[in-house]
Subunit: 197 residues, 2 copies
Amino acid sequence: MSFSPLINQLIESLRILPGVGKKSAQRMALQLLERNRQGALKLADALNLAMDKVGYCKLCHTLSEEELCPQCASPNRDDKLLCIVEGPLDVFAIEQTGYQGRYFVLKGHLSPLDGLGPEAIGIPELLKRIENAEFEEIILATNSTVEGEATAHYIAQLLAPKGLTVSRIAHGVPLGGELELVDGGTLSHALAGRRPI
Amino acid sequence: MSFSPLINQLIESLRILPGVGKKSAQRMALQLLERNRQGALKLADALNLAMDKVGYCKLCHTLSEEELCPQCASPNRDDKLLCIVEGPLDVFAIEQTGYQGRYFVLKGHLSPLDGLGPEAIGIPELLKRIENAEFEEIILATNSTVEGEATAHYIAQLLAPKGLTVSRIAHGVPLGGELELVDGGTLSHALAGRRPI
Ligand SMILES: [Zn+2]
Ligand SMILES: [Zn+2]
């Protein structure tokens, strides 16, 4: 009871959003109805349009409604560098660093227990992409999780015979991170990867 | 850069949701595109339908697409009790307690600094509602904020001449609440409102 059927339906629909529980969905639904119907209608349009039109970039396989995403379409980027990530959000994160090479976006990481092998995550497309280009360095920027590491190692081994430089992003203490709050594994990496200053 | 235009538009649109910042909106947009396009389309439909059809209940003024909301339409509730709240979410909260009387939903609370006087929050409609019915008790369940208290007192004074019982929900220590974590004002109310057990 207590909400009318269309409001209940809206609350239920909002719960498909990641991180949105019952209480947040209620608050969202009522706030939209009471204060921002215009915004809600725009959101509905944006959802319809994106779900209908957005596919995958032909080259890097990130999400894009155009054949080539902004990063692949740009003529001003370094064609000798390829950065491999697990998903579109990682492209966004790495763009913030000022990186100016190209990307390849896997569909996540290898996960044999879930039946996700090399084909499922797009390794054949990655190899094709590398064969059809003239990269000099491949940067493995999968996550620093067990699965991300395993995926990076798998790709590194595949690429070993090709005479390319294959690198892995560094592990270490986050900037501004206090040593006492950093876990032991990260700290060992930070020590082992020490450099002269 | 980094996301294509339609994805950026979806991210921006998601940010109208209360509590959704830039990072959450990005995560939501990409998760919908990668894993739940069906759900996203359903959400768009639910938004369109609700924004188009949902208005206000003729009797209690809560949000409802039908002339009478579920609480006003039910023939099985106590017509002698009226509970006054600040918004539709409060109806939901009070329904959870098993309350079986009727409701009146204000449009928030009095807020003279924002230019919100009695007319703006629906006091004339409240008086009309009370005149056209035979309530015996009016429960003031506005929030325990300064504005909610002021609104409750204002209404109590308006209703004083009508010979009705007007009550205010009790203040006190929340169930399961530890005394040392409860603020002083609440604790004074809890002490002053003590009862024999
Ligand atoms: Zn691309
Ligand atoms: Zn009603």
